[in-house]
């Protein structure tokens, strides 16, 4: 191919890097109205729909990569809606006096929960004074004394009458430490057996009978004593309750009136009153017990009337927007804490703690999907709460029925919170696919765009965004050249000269680092050079592997020729992705051909190093050969293609132009120029198609050539459809401008092979043949030779078989 013919495929320098040129009237001041989410209208509309929609199930999943400013976007949008909604109710847990293991929940208008807690605290303080005072009053003491006196009189009456009757019959009642003994008494003294035996028989019998009778009576009276005691206790209890009721009703009257409009609270206050009256005797100040566990202490006694305020919106003027960065089960659902008491773990309603769901009740809860899914039990518990529309605070073990010990089971609290999950797209699609409940709970998908169109308007908005970001971070001011350079780098980040990346964290990194380099040189503002320095230094920090590969190529450890020609050998281009950094480098692709049965062997696939897409690309090569050449004969070729010195996996079809070129070179015996590398995929009709990583690939070959010395003959062939993606480094563009390096863009394999071999590919003429000496003509001639040879082999084989 003539040199001037090649020129038509050269990409002009201005197409290698689309420079940014801000309008002359670009306002350099930060515009407060420019948000960080320009170009995200579709996602923003989806989020606004989700947060305003009040029906169940319209929870939101925000799809977008890490660093796309998802949190800031959500928080700003939700914050606006939260202000409009106002503060939601407070929630408290209080004692359930009839079943302390099932604490009651109480709902209060925002702020009243705290007020109620303080009111109850004040009530307790008042009761601590009022109840003991009532029991210490003269009125109570007199009544109690009267009851005691009455009981004492009754007891003494029993005792006295028995004593008198015994005395009348000459019998004394003696007390032993544990009981009584009836003894005959004569002349005021207990008689012994000798004295007793001296008595007349009649007298002895009389004494024995009297003792027998008195014993029975004594027993009867002993048995009556518990009844007297019980009656006494009941009278005292009734008195205590009467006194307590009087004291409590006075204290509670105001509270009942205050909370009359809250029926459940009013019922609770009735329960409090009833409970205090029923346990009136516990409120009397008694001596401290000798051991702490023998009696309920005063603190414990009054603490049962405390209020556990689990959701407090007293200081809120908007619906809550909660972001839980550690969505563990307790942090989301809540937990019941325990305290050690006498070696045992105990709990009560005061130790119930709310989780993020309750804190966000009436508002919004923002969670990171990946973290939610990686914390045990959280995902199922979250779904359960959303389905049931209530939060049941319990441990996972209780939830799954793994424990049988008695513990608290607080009354569930109704849930009215909008859940906003933030996560990567693949997680969203996995959940849609594998969790059949997901779609009914998260009906709104807000899909953030990775980039936006590089229109004039958008460029201007983006420029304002850059300026604003710099100001908000208190960085040095960015001059226009710096802003333009940033925008160019954002196009490079998007891998597209016609789009701008919306990956905000990388933008922030870039401007912060540019600021650093500006300060390093002592500049008062950031200019384009500082931005370029930030980019190049960022690459350099991560380029160790790339440097090692270039070094290996320079030292001929990795065999890559950048000059000369070779049959069946082409420089392909590969990209290695290290996450934060991608780089390209050349790989040698070789092909060999001989007569065969029409198969092209992909050695990478044979050894299971080739991925599915790569294998597909190889199969397309076979089809492309069949479709283009010797249509009337069987394809009698055996070809093999390999990535030389490649010891890892190969994936993608971006080397298929290079592979086909190597095969064509092998078939035509035309040597391929080694100073040209090639990338691109090819279809069955020979059309060259766009591939990814084109910038890195060009730069990768450029770096190798530069290391060996640029001579102006070196260059890269890329698909024409990739030209719009070009945002090459400035040094590459400068080299092209100086005619030290070239970039070719082709639409068809014929153009690529012509550039590589320097021979016209040739088109099939009206006679059906390719021009003689053209690449395609030589290929077809070779394939006809293979077919003829195969045919003759077949005949000989048949003949020898007949013989």
């Amino acid at each position: 191919m003539a040199a001037d013919a090649i020129q038509e495929y050269r990409v002009q320098p201005d197409a290698l890097r689309r420079l940014c040129s801000l309008p002359a009237d670009f306002e350099h001041d930060a515009d407060e109205h420019v948000g960080t989410h320009i170009g995200q209208e579709r996602a923003i509309d989806a989020i606004r729909f989700g947060i305003a929609m009040r029906k169940a199930g319209y929870n939101i999943y925000v799809l977008g990569p890490i660093g796309s400013n998802r949190h800031a976007l959500i928080e700003s949008l939700v914050g606006e809606e939260a202000k409009a909604r106002g503060a939601p109710p407070d929630w408290c847990y209080v004692n359930n006096f009839s079943n302390p293991e099932r604490p009651h929940s109480l709902r209060f208008p925002a702020g009243q929960g705290r007020e109620f807690r303080e009111d109850m605290r004040h009530l307790i303080e008042e009761l601590q004074l009022a109840i003991p005072a009532a029991f210490e009053g003269d009125d109570y003491r007199n009544q109690l004394r009267a009851i005691e006196e009455d009981t004492k009189n009754r007891v003494e009456e029993q005792w006295k009458s028995l004593n008198e009757r015994a005395g009348e019959e000459g019998i004394g009642l003696l007390q032993t430490p544990t009981g009584y003994v009836l003894a005959p008494i004569i002349d005021g003294k207990v008689i012994d057996d000798k004295e007793f035996n001296k008595l007349p028989k009649g007298k002895r019998e009389q004494i024995e009978a009297a003792i027998e009778r008195l014993s029975e009576e004594l027993q009867a009276r002993i048995e009556m004593m518990p009844k007297l005691r019980k009656a006494h206790r009941e009278r005292v209890k009734a008195l205590d309750q009467e006194v307590t009721a009087h004291a409590v009703s006075l204290q509670l009257a105001d509270l009942k009136e205050k909370y009359r409009s809250l029926p459940r609270v009013a019922v609770y206050l009735d329960d409090v009153q009833e409970n205090i009256i029923q346990n009136a005797q516990d409120f009397q100040q008694t001596e401290t017990p000798s051991l702490p566990f023998l009696s309920r202490d005063s603190e414990q006694l009054y603490s049962q009337y405390e209020v556990n305020l689990v959701v407090d919106n007293a200081d809120a003027d908007a619906a809550p927007v909660i972001y839980e960065s550690n969505p563990s089960y307790p942090n989301i659902i809540g937990r019941v804490e325990h305290r050690a008491e006498m070696g045992a773990l105990v709990t009560d309603f005061r130790l119930v703690r709310s989780g993020a769901l309750l804190q966000a009740n009436g508002g919004y809860l923002i969670l990171d999907t990946r973290r939610v899914l990686s914390r045990p039990f959280v995902w199922e518990a979250l779904k359960q709460a959303l389905f049931a529309k209530q939060v049941q605070i319990e441990t996972p073990a209780e939830s799954y029925g793994w424990v049988s010990t008695t513990t608290l089971k607080p009354e569930p609290i109704p849930l009215d919170a909008r859940i906003i999950l933030i996560g990567e797209r693949w997680l969203y699609y996995l959940l849609c696919h594998y969790d059949i409940e997901f779609s009914s709970l998260f009906k709104v998908a807000a899909d953030l765009d990775d980039d936006l169109e590089r229109s004039d308007d958008n460029v201007e908005r983006y420029a304002r965004l850059v300026v604003r970001q710099a100001q908000s971070r208190e960085l040095l001011p960015f001059n226009v050249s710096a802003v333009q350079r940033v925008i160019e780098e954002r196009a490079r980040h998007a891998d597209d000269s016609e789009r701008l990346s919306m990956h905000m964290s990388s933008l922030e990194d870039l401007i912060e680092q540019a600021d650093y380099w500006a300060r390093e040189r002592g500049g008062g503002e950031v200019d384009a050079g500082d931005v370029g320095k930030a980019v190049s230094e960022g690459r350099r920090r991560l380029s160790r592997l790339q440097s090692r590969i270039i070094d290996a190529i320079k030292r001929d450890t990795l065999l890559i020729d950048t000059s000369g020609e070779c049959v069946g050998q082409v420089n392909g281009l590969s990209v290695t992705d290290l996450g934060e950094f991608r780089y390209g480098h050349p790989v040698r692709i070789t092909a060999t051909t001989r007569v065969g049965t029409g198969d092209v062997v992909d050695i990478e696939r044979e050894v299971e190093l080739g991925g599915a897409i790569h294998s597909k690309g190889m199969m397309i090569l076979s089809s492309a050969l069949s479709a283009r050449y010797v249509p009337d004969l069987p394809l009698s070729l055996h070809g093999s293609v390999v990535f030389e010195q490649s010891y890892g996996g190969v994936e993608g079809d971006s080397a298929s132009v290079a592979e086909l070129s190597a095969l064509l070179s092998s078939l035509s015996r035309l040597p391929v120029r080694q100073n040209i590398a090639v990338t691109g995929s090819v279809n069955q009709l020979g059309r060259v198609q766009a591939v990814g990583g084109v910038n890195e690939k060009i730069e990768g070959f450029f770096d190798v050539c530069r290391a060996r010395g640029l001579d102006g003959s070196q260059g890269v062939i890329i698909p024409q459809d990739n030209v719009k993606h070009l945002m090459l480094r400035e040094d590459v563009v400068d080299a092209v401008k100086r005619d030290e390096f070239r970039v070719f863009a082709v639409r068809h394999i014929d153009a690529a092979i012509a550039i590589l071999t320097g021979v016209d590919a040739g088109e099939r003429g009206e006679d059906g043949d390719f021009p003689e000496g053209s690449v395609n003509g030589l290929v077809e001639s070779q394939l006809i030779e293979y077919a003829t040879a195969r045919k003759s082999f077949a005949k000989e084989a048949t003949k020898s078989g007949e013989d």
């Binding site: 007390q175 544990t178 012994d192 004295e195």
Partner: protein
């Protein structure tokens, strides 16, 4: 208090039903007037043994149930428990006054031992007034010791039943 060095001995005579506190106060008053040796003499009541000797005596428990035979062993036990109770009371009072009186148990008609305690000293006997009706009083009178009687009702038992 080294009793061998003192000529005066104050003897508190107590029975199982004596008003111990009042007797102790009376003894302390005497000790304030002049230093003296202090001895507590517990006069054992033999009524438990007498009543136990009767074949039909039964003990009825305060908590009810079937009456059980009141044996001599039980009488001995009751008597010991009573003495121990009094001794405990005396020790408690003595500790408050930082004193350590001897505590001797004596049968009511054990004249020989009584003489051993009282006869060899210039003794003052502090005793409940009801002791004058007991046989031991006759023996005490014979020993010509000084006797301080403290007013108390004889057989001052606690009520049979107490309020809950």
């Amino acid at each position: 208090m080294a009793k061998t060095e003192l000529k005066l001995r104050v003897v508190i005579a107590v029975t199982e039903t004596s008003p111990v506190a009042r007797l102790w106060e009376a003894a302390l008053r005497l000790l304030r007037d002049s230093p003296a040796d202090l001895v507590t003499l517990y006069v054992e009541d033999d009524r438990w043994h007498r009543v136990a000797s009767l074949p039909f005596t039964r003990e009825i428990s305060r908590s009810g149930g079937v009456p059980v035979e009141f044996t001599r062993q039980r009488a001995e036990q009751v008597s010991r428990e009573r003495a121990a109770r009094v001794q405990e009371l005396i020790q408690k009072l003595a500790a408050e006054s930082n004193l350590k009186p001897a505590f001797e148990v004596l049968g009511e008609s054990d004249a020989e031992r009584l003489r051993e305690f009282i006869g060899s000293h210039e003794s003052v006997l502090v005793a409940p007034s009801f002791i004058s009706t007991r046989p031991i009083f006759a023996m005490l009178s014979e020993m010509s010791c000084r006797i301080e009687l403290v007013e108390a009702d004889e057989e001052e038992e606690k009520p049979a039943y107490t309020l809950p």
